[in-house]
Amino acid sequence: MRNTITIAGKELAGYFVQPVAYVVLTVFILLGGWFFFAMLRQFDEMVQLVQMMGQPDTLRQMNLNTRVIDPLLHDLSVVLVIVMPALTMRVFAEEKRSGTYELLLTAPVRTGEIVAGKFLAAAAFTLVMVALAWIFPLILIVFGNPEVGVMFAGYLGLFLLALSFVAVGLFTSSLTQNQIIAAISSFGILILLFVISWPAEAGGGVVWALLKYLSLPEHFSTMTRGVIDTSDVVFFLSVVATALFLTQRSVESARWR
């Protein structure tokens, strides 16, 4: 446990002296801001249109949660697919390249502790990112009256989604000493998990159901609609657990190859 914290502390401090992390954070928030702006504009126009047409019932049904936050969270999830691999690509690859991997693996530390420490640090950084993206709901709370609970569920979903991205990124980073390869393969896996249910849209049967179950947006959408279903939380946590287990095996494999 102590070793895990030692490694997590070192890693986390590393994020804040690395330009990559700041770039990732900035791109994420700036793009988020742009999407938020676009969504609000559309919402505004729609409201005016409906008002002009004199349909008070429709007007009452329109709300910020479904019209602004829900699509915003989906856009942010796509941004995460692109930026998270950049955040995690160096985690193992750089250690291998610079030779510090020898220090880590010859220290009296279990590989599980190394992986856990690195994951915790990346998770903490991700939490900072997602927390900063709360600026958008805060603006809505100040100037409108969205449902806070629904937004909270959506953001929890975004965080869990990002955690599974981190775990996948750690895994691909542990396979190579080339950061680009780590980033691209992680990107590939994430995209695949995003579109895996596409062929299943029309069909039925066990295989299709499985593909649908594996699809990340499938579980994410439930949460952005404001539903915290245990099965979705469990799904994300199992993606994390599986990826971290594979990472641990991959790091450990240096000891039996």
Binding site: N3, T6, I7, G99, T100, E102, L103, A107, A254, R255
Partner: protein, 256 residues
Amino acid sequence: MIDVKHLTKAYGSFVAVKDVSFRAEKGQILGFLGPNGAGKTTTMRIITGFMPATSGTVEIDGLDIFNNSLEARRRIGYLPENPPLYMDMRVETYLRFVAKLRGVKRAEIDGAVEHVLQVAGLTDMAGRICGQLSKGYRQRVGLAQALVHNPPVLVLDEPTIGLDPRQIHEIRELIRGLAGDRTIVLSTHILPEVSQICDKVVIINDGRVALEEMIKDIPEGTSLEEVFLHAIAREGHAESASAEETLEEMGAGHSA
């Protein structure tokens, strides 16, 4: 104590280390010599538990590096071929991190870090960022991290490489001073270094032990360079010659 028995390491069809055995006792400094690509670094990586051997065993103070890995690793201070520095960390922060990682007690970390900074002559550099240090200083930080947990066994892969003559002298003095009741294995290309600071020499060539001999048993008037060149000239021999044979042959060569 380091006990290496019948170590073999194969990468696919390429065998880097073939049936290497040697032993370094407590208090001994063992010089590990060999031409480039002889298998020195591979052997040291196996000794420190970084990679497993294809066959053979390594014992650190009686603990198997593979089966009793954590305990064995706790006893080792290792300076790899390239100093394993985090280039964006400050020297002191880095050493504190390594100290914690190697299990130095919380209360003793300050003292341990201060001590190695002093020993490696880094006190003035404590606040510098590793990436901005010169090669010589990086090497010293590498040495400092190997010492920070006061290990009974030290494995140093070319500790004096990249240093200027004065620093080389300092580091040698430092290593000699460290011996005491430690076991030290160091690899080097510099032959005089071995005769100056080592108690024992192991020469490997093409992955095999070509010579294992106490420095004091090398006859007077025979330079280590002669011994080295002679030992590695026996390339291709299936069985490595015993030290006596090598030395005898050399003696014969001289008289003939």
